[in-house]
């Protein structure tokens, strides 16, 4: 049960990252690799603030805000300075690596014996359960600490998902989605296309930084390397999510992103349990995303050759 709960918890925490990438990758159609840097940025800012005695909630909030800034800078590089899409992200990601080291002061900050956002939840649950340190979930004993982290992640994730859905259905959100869909049309409707890209990337990286801040608190440390490969993980989650729920509506797409992330974490947990070398994880993920991207084309041509063959017979 422990391993499943931890997969769910990490899944819920990383769902914020996936939702963020949903905005950049799927809505704006912007391949934004800033993610790898802004994820660590969120973790770094939150870790440093918590170690220095700030409230974990405030630390998480400020970490999210730094992500918003990082994303908007990538957006400005692309719109204002006409730097290629991929390159704007790479520049920002590279710059963030040094910035993150500066913020942290060293490459790793442990968060031992510090409070985290799940602290208050834990307090409430333990007072309800009568000072036990384990409770029963579906017949499994689970430590209250683990369960309260899970619950906190769930609440934050659901709130973020609801807020994102609400936003994407407003006038502004509609304009933002259309910006990725058809820039020419958007300008013809009097919408500042460049502004929408900056706004979208900003929101996207804000969510990513939030995810990083939460993960640092969950795993008990922030590491300058923790963001590497996050973008591909997010992609894999988006793809799985789309397979699970489809994209018929905004609500379903967002639900898919959340479920996809959890499902992906479960798959990873199982693979690691079966003896997959953790060092191979990123390779396996990259191969998975590759297959998910090309499989539809293969299936299509395969179907065509089979049906074509039948017709000729």
């Amino acid at each position: 049960m422990g391993i499943v709960l931890s997969a769910f918890t990490i899944g819920l925490i990383l769902a914020a990252l996936t939702m963020g990438m949903l905005i950049s990758f799927r809505m704006l159609r912007f391949t934004d690799i800033t993610v790898d840097g802004s994820f660590t940025l969120g973790a770094a800012v939150a870790a440093v603030m918590i170690v220095n005695g700030w409230s974990p909630w405030l630390a998480t909030l400020i970490a999210t805000a730094t992500g918003l800034v990082a994303g908007s800078i990538t957006g400005l590089l692309y719109t204002r300075f006409k730097i290629q899409m991929i390159l704007s992200g790479i520049l920002m990601m590279t710059a963030l690596y040094s910035i993150n080291l500066r913020i942290m002061g060293r490459s790793n900050i442990p968060l031992l014996d510090t409070s985290s956002v799940s602290g208050s939840t834990e307090h409430i649950i333990s007072s309800l359960s009568g000072e036990l340190n384990r409770i029963n979930i579906l017949g499994w004993p689970v430590s209250i600490t683990d369960f309260s982290v899970f619950l906190t992640a769930l609440i934050i994730c659901v709130l973020a998902a609801i807020a994102l859905r609400w936003f994407l259905l407003t006038h502004l959100g509609t304009a933002l989605r259309a910006s990725g869909n058809n820039p020419q049309m958007v300008r013809a409707q009097g919408i500042n296309h460049n502004l929408m890209i900056v706004l979208g990337l900003s929101l996207s990286n804000g969510l990513v930084a939030l995810s990083g801040a939460l993960l640092a608190q969950y795993q008990g440390f922030a590491d300058v390397q923790m963001g590497i490969g996050m973008m591909v993980w997010g992609l894999a989650s988006i793809i799985i999510g789309e397979a699970l729920t489809g994209t018929r509506s905004i609500g379903l797409t967002i639900a898919g992103a959340v479920l996809g992330t959890i499902f992906f974490r479960l798959l990873i947990a199982i693979a690691l349990r079966w003896g997959l070398n953790p060092n191979d994880l990123k390779l396996v993920t990259a191969v998975f995303v590759f297959l998910a991207l090309v499989a539809p084309i293969w299936v299509k041509s395969l179907r065509k050759s089979i049906w074509g063959g039948l017709r000729n017979a």
């Binding site: 006038h171 509609t174 304009a175 259309a178 869909n181 058809n182 409707q189």
Partner: protein
């Protein structure tokens, strides 16, 4: 009223691909008039429309729309005053979004992009009522992605969107050229209907001489980045397709003359 003065635009200047698309175009369009712009390929007629819409910055010259100098306005700001329908039926709508969402954006063209829910029940009813007037049965498909519609349906919707909030100027860039003849006729009829009903000021680039004679009340012909013929008022009333074709042949002959003379001179003097 639209006033264009000495408008010039050269694409890729200083390279082998240099194209002097607009060479000092001066034009005045009266309020409430419907002008057709015709001309040979590469005559600069689409460029003229795009220059007015703000797709690119003009090299020199000025544009004034109902008293406002719009020469340096970015495209999205001009869209507050100008409605557009493109030649490509897929260009005017966002394919991945629903019909209602697309129209919802057009309903707020030029207004603030607020954090209110875009498609409320009231907005839906308003959209449904107006879409019904197209008589295409689209009012039952408001939640379908607009990409699932045919080119003609999308072009009709784009026209509806461009004129939803009365624009000070409507720009139509060969908006029926990519459609099959029957659909093209329907969209052309719809165009005439909307322009007369809303008393719009409009400019339409077209390749169809028949359309130029039938729909508008003024025809200008462009050639090599300039206006060479201008049929107004009585002259337009008398103009027939054959007259336009004659005018075409005249400028083309002039062209032929130019290049053959140049060649002759070259042989003699170079």
């Amino acid at each position: 009223m639209l006033k264009i003065k000495e408008l010039c635009k050269t694409f890729s200047p200083g390279t082998v691909n240099e194209v002097r698309a607009l060479r000092g175009v001066t034009l005045e369009i009266q309020e409430g008039s419907f002008t057709a712009v015709i001309g040979t390929n590469g005559s600069g007629k689409s460029t003229l429309l795009n220059a007015v819409a703000g797709s690119f910055e003009a090299d020199s010259g000025s544009m004034e729309l109902f008293g406002r100098i719009i020469t340096n306005w970015p495209e999205h700001k001009r869209a507050l005053l100008i409605g557009r329908v493109f030649q490509n039926p897929f260009a005017g709508t966002a394919a991945g979004m629903t019909i209602a969402e697309n129209i919802g954006m057009a309903m707020r063209r030029g207004q603030r992009w607020s954090l209110r829910t875009a498609i409320t029940k009231r907005v839906r009813e308003e959209i449904s009522d107006k879409v019904k007037t197209l008589k295409m049965g689209l009012e039952d498909r408001l939640d379908n992605p607009i990409g699932t519609l045919s080119g003609g349906q999308r072009q009709a919707l784009t026209l509806l969107m461009a004129t939803w909030l009365k624009p000070q100027l409507l720009l139509l860039d060969e908006h029926t050229a990519a459609l099959d003849p029957k659909t093209a006729a329907k969209v052309a009829e719809l165009t005439r209907e909307i322009i007369t009903r809303e008393k719009l000021t409009a400019m339409m680039v077209t390749h169809s001489m028949q359309q130029a004679v039938d729909l508008p009340d003024r025809i200008i012909m462009m050639h090599k980045g300039n206006i060479v013929e201008d049929y107004k008022d009585e002259m337009k009333a008398r103009a027939r397709v054959s007259d336009l074709i004659k005018a075409f042949e005249r400028v083309q002959k002039l062209d032929l003359f130019d290049s053959s003379v140049a060649e002759l001179l070259e042989q003699q003097y170079v």
